[in-house]
């Protein structure tokens, strides 16, 4: 980073439109603002109350509460059964699923970030015959429903002997994904082109230019892609359901989906397992949310 001495100019942040900053203390403005806040509060309540309920059920005493109790308990009884969470993890085989999901998600993230950033750089910064056609083909693949490619991919992976392994779930990520490449390309487009010329004169090859100059400047978009891939991989159900067969290989999502039946009478365990399953995405989101908006550049997309 320091070696280049160049800091990315922050993307110009437009001040809020004048109309949205209520500085005039007129009654109309105040009413508008109160209405907006009230609406937001209601929406935020609806948005988060299911989570509260899930957490509430997860903290009940095991066996002390069932689905058929009326009225539903709105607050957990004291003391909180905090041990439900470590219990859910240690309850075989859920801890195992947790580990599997983590490994697959990390491999997918690393692969996508590396491969998509290179491709995004090539599309954004290099001139070569066929670039525009290839780029349009790539955008067109965004339209293809995954169900179309699912079956040929399944046949391919099965013939490679990858059925019931994790390979089909993370290896494709190492070749890049269209959406990630697109995001990267949009971001690299915003960086000054003088950087390339300067480096060329110093005799750097494109790979070095990309790795030494552009990669360190791309942190926001790298973070954005990493989060999206992590979430996609962690929450993926279709892939694991299709490719994984043995219990030891299951991910959290398959484990929860298939073993839901076993727990139906033990709603507290099911809910504490569910809470544990959503912790990694929430932690990742909290840690990286400030990058989220900055990494998405849509400008220059005119039809």
């Amino acid at each position: 980073m320091a070696s280049t001495g160049y800091q990315p100019a922050p993307r110009p942040i437009q001040p809020l439109p004048a109309s949205t900053i209520s500085t005039d203390p007129t009654a109309a403005a105040r009413i508008k603002r109160v209405a907006a806040t009230l609406g937001l509060l209601i929406a935020a309540f609806v948005s988060s109350v299911p989570f509260y309920y899930m957490l509430n059920l997860a903290l009940q005493e095991k066996g002390g509460y069932g689905l058929f109790d009326w009225p539903p308990r709105m607050v957990p009884e004291w003391p909180l059964q905090l041990h439900n969470f470590p219990d859910a993890l240690s309850q075989s085989p859920f801890g195992r699923y947790f580990l599997n999901s983590t490994i697959i998600a990390v491999l997918s993230v690393v692969g996508t970030v590396l491969s998509s950033s290179v491709a995004g750089y090539v599309f954004a910064r290099m001139r070569f015959p066929g670039r525009d056609v290839l780029f349009i083909v790539m955008l067109a693949t965004l339209m293809v429903p995954p169900q179309v490619t699912l079956i040929p991919q399944f046949i391919l992976f099965k013939s490679l002997g990858w059925y019931d392994s994790w390979y089909p779930l993370w290896v494709p990520h190492w070749t890049g994904t269209a959406f990630a490449i697109f995001l990267m390309r949009q971001y690299f487009k915003t960086l000054p082109s003088e950087l390339v010329d300067a480096a060329k004169i110093d005799g750097a090859n494109p790979l070095m230019i990309f790795w030494k100059i552009f990669m360190p400047l791309a942190k926001p978009v790298l973070a954005t892609v990493a989060i999206l891939v992590f979430l996609g991989s962690w929450n993926d159900l279709l892939g694991p359901v299709i490719y994984l067969q043995s219990n030891d290989n299951y991910t959290v999502q398959v484990g929860l989906a298939f073993f839901r039946g076993q727990y139906t009478m033990d709603i507290v365990s099911l809910m504490s397992a569910s809470v544990v399953a959503v912790i990694p995405p929430i932690v990742i989101f909290m840690l990286t949310q400030r990058y989220f908006v900055r990494g998405i550049v849509l400008t220059g997309l005119k039809g």
């Binding site: 437009q14 001040p15 809020l16 439109p17 949205t20 900053i21 806040t37 609406g39 948005s47 109350v49 299911p50 309920y53 899930m54 059920l57 689905l67 009225p71 539903p72 290179v118 090539v122 001139r127 070569f128 790539m138 693949t141 965004l142 339209m143 429903p145 995954p146 169900q147 179309v148 490619t149 699912l150 079956i151 040929p152 046949i155 391919l156 070749t175 890049g176 269209a178 010329d197 060329k200 494109p206 929450n235 279709l238 359901v241 839901r260 809910m271 569910s274 809470v275 399953a277 959503v278 929430i282 989101f285 909290m286 949310q289 989220f292 908006v293 998405i296 849509l298 997309l301 039809g303």
Partner: protein, 309 residues
């Protein structure tokens, strides 16, 4: 002296031009070398399978025996299949409800959040956490929240409504749509917010000078400036919502009856429960064609309503 300096500089420029032009020749080779991973992706995981699926859709294939040519049998069968009709109908309802509802709600929330309001981080988290946790756990959570003796009916009861059979034949699809909207709001809100903040202030100032009030500014500045984002969200939203799977797979398995059978779920069942790979490919292709046509129509219609500065 001056001349010597000039010649020196000229020589330097020539050297520079040589380096740059030589690198232009190499650049094409480098570009394709660096693109090898993506070309592999295109060949093995994207474009290749798209062609392979088309071929497969004209065969009967069960993974065990080699594919048997089937002509248009799969497509013919699909047109008479009640499950397929139900799946297309349910998916169409889902898309037609999910996309406009989510886009509108998300826009309202984004406009409200675009004001100076205390605790913005908490609101953001409240709307975004449903997005990041869109897995099986939240599906199970919703199943319980909307169960007959669940918290939704309890809260409705407190304000005097009768309990609702959320997962019954009449309501199940509506519940699935509601879950989708709940899970999709956060992302769309973020996109709207970035579009709102990208509107130049001088446009609002100009509108003020013209005597435009709050509504006038919204109608003649905000809305037109948001149309490119609206198109983008609509196209991606429709493509994405055609693929609704987790909620129907986990909660309803398409039931009761066929009430929540969606295309993605049906394709999964035909392909990976019954191993009718050819039939599943045909269904996937029909879905692809519809998505493609809908996207093209939107792309063509944009000139009537999308405003580019």
């Amino acid at each position: 002296m001056l001349l010597a300096a000039r010649t020196e500089r000229l020589r330097a420029y020539k050297r520079l031009a040589r380096i740059l032009s030589k690198s232009n020749v190499n650049e094409g080779i480098w570009a394709y070398v660096l693109l090898i991973p993506y070309l592999v992706n295109l060949l093995l995981f994207t474009a290749g399978p798209v062609i392979a699926a088309l071929v497969l859709s004209f065969t009967h294939y069960d993974l065990l025996r080699p594919p048997i040519p089937a002509g248009i049998e799969n497509y013919a069968r699909a047109f008479g299949d009640r499950d397929v009709q139900a799946a297309f109908r349910n998916t169409a309802y889902y898309v037609a409800a999910y996309v406009p509802i989510t886009m509108t709600f998300a826009l309202f929330i984004a406009i409200a959040l675009n004001q100076k309001i205390r605790g913005i981080v908490w609101y953001r988290a409240a709307f975004f956490i449903p997005v990041v946790t869109s897995g099986v756990a939240t599906a199970i959570m919703w199943q319980i929240v909307l169960s007959k003796l669940g918290i939704a009916n309890y809260l409705l009861g407190l304000v005097g409504f009768r309990p609702v059979d959320w997962w019954g034949y009449e309501r199940a699809l509506g519940s699935i749509i509601m879950m989708g909207v709940w899970g999709g709001l956060g992302v769309l809100m973020m996109f709207w917010l970035s579009a709102l903040q990208g509107i130049p202030v001088h446009l609002y100032e100009a509108a003020s000078i013209d005597g435009a009030g709050w509504w006038g500014k919204f109608r003649h500045v905000t809305l037109p400036m948001l149309t490119p984002m609206a198109l983008f969200l609509m196209i991606l939203g429709i493509i994405g919502s055609f693929q609704v799977f987790v909620s129907t797979f986990v909660i309803t398995s398409g039931g009761p009856g066929n009430a929540t059978l969606t295309l993605a779920l049906l394709i999964y069942q035909e392909g990976f429960t019954y191993f009718y790979m050819g039939y599943a490919s045909a269904l996937a292709y029909m879905m692809f064609v519809i998505v493609f046509i809908v996207t093209m129509i939107q792309w063509r219609l944009q000139r009537y309503w999308v405003f580019y500065e």
